[in-house]
Symmetry: C2
Subunit: 204 residues, 2 copies
């Protein structure tokens, strides 16, 4: 792509560094910004820079936060004795969007994956163990992606907590709402048969 302005070219190149944004899309976005008022583009640019420079991670749950403690941990309405363990920030947002969970979180920052060189020490696992020991935690709910890495991580943390009286659960595995039985893999279908629910509980 040939540009007659290096300012334009630099801006397109910066956008094209983002994941899933090619050169043509980058150009479309930059030309859109070019049509906006300078003040609006200034705000766009400022908000992004400010976000990266000032965002913090909650000292308690490792979620993103504006201060030392995130708004979920700081909320006195949330049950502090209930911790939902997730892989990353995106999972927190997904669960919050269901509006079905009133506890707090613990963001691991990944899952144990020896092939990718990620062991327990690279994750916020030790911090979780300490939270369970020091805070009055009643239940840990694992909400990790249902794959080998997720299961390994659950197994590892559960072993570490054997001495503790905390209740350890995981979100239900089964056929997704709107899913097709015939396309479900054998593992999922088999487990959903084993973990079947009385209809009364399913319906409510």
């Amino acid at each position: 792509m040939q540009f007659s302005s290096s300012l334009l070219e630099n801006a397109v190149n910066e956008f094209a560094k983002l994941p899933g944004i090619g050169k043509k899309t980058a150009l479309r976005l930059v030309l859109h910004l070019l049509k906006q008022e300078p003040a609006e583009v200034g705000q766009f640019s400022e908000v992004i820079a400010k976000m990266r420079a000032e965002i913090k991670f909650c000292q308690r749950c490792h979620n993103v936060a504006d201060g030392d403690i995130c708004s979920i941990c700081a909320n006195s309405q949330r049950k502090k004795e209930l911790i939902c363990v997730v892989e990353n920030i995106r999972d927190v947002i997904a669960i919050e969007s269901t509006q079905q969970f009133n506890g707090t979180y613990h963001v691991l920052g990944g899952v144990i994956s020896p092939l990718d060189g990620i062991g327990p020490d690279q994750l916020n696992i030790e911090a979780l163990i300490q939270r369970v020991e020091k805070e009055q935690i009643e239940e840990l709910i694992f909400a990790l992606n249902p794959n080998i890495q997720g299961d390994t991580t659950i197994y590892y943390i559960q072993k570490k907590l054997q001495q503790s009286s905390v209740r350890v659960t995981t979100i239900a595995r089964g056929i997704a709402f709107g899913g097709e039985l015939e396309y479900a893999d054998e593992m999922t279908l088999g487990r959903s048969l084993q973990n079947r629910l009385p209809v009364e509980r399913y319906v409510k």
Copy 2:
């Protein structure tokens, strides 16, 4: 979508204002930036703001420029007597990418479209007429999208130039009616420049 950080939320909202970027894509882009070094994100933000604040439009051809005159008009190798008339900056980039054109451009800033309330006065048409009168222009090549608005614009400008001895041509209809210049492959676009037709033959 529920966020535990207003910094994150603001950044996602800014990205989601861009065309074709929804909330989920915006979140993906912001979380990508969150993983980058602050200096890199600072550069991203700075380049965008600088682009909008400092970019200029060429006083001669109305293309984007870093200074008063764009790099194409300033290039002594380009034939000044040959003007390619295009709708917008994107079309300049598309034609430059073919590497088949060695003249200069004139960016109209749109095409005549009464339904959208765009008449000749909203476009850089008067400036084009003046360029033809004052500069030693030998040929105008119209490279407008092949649709009614484009044809109307060609017809209007040709009428205005009837007294002039300038040769008026249009790129060949290698591009399907209703197509968009920016999505044409370089071969088609390049050939359509080589096979341009006099407007008299094009109109009938």
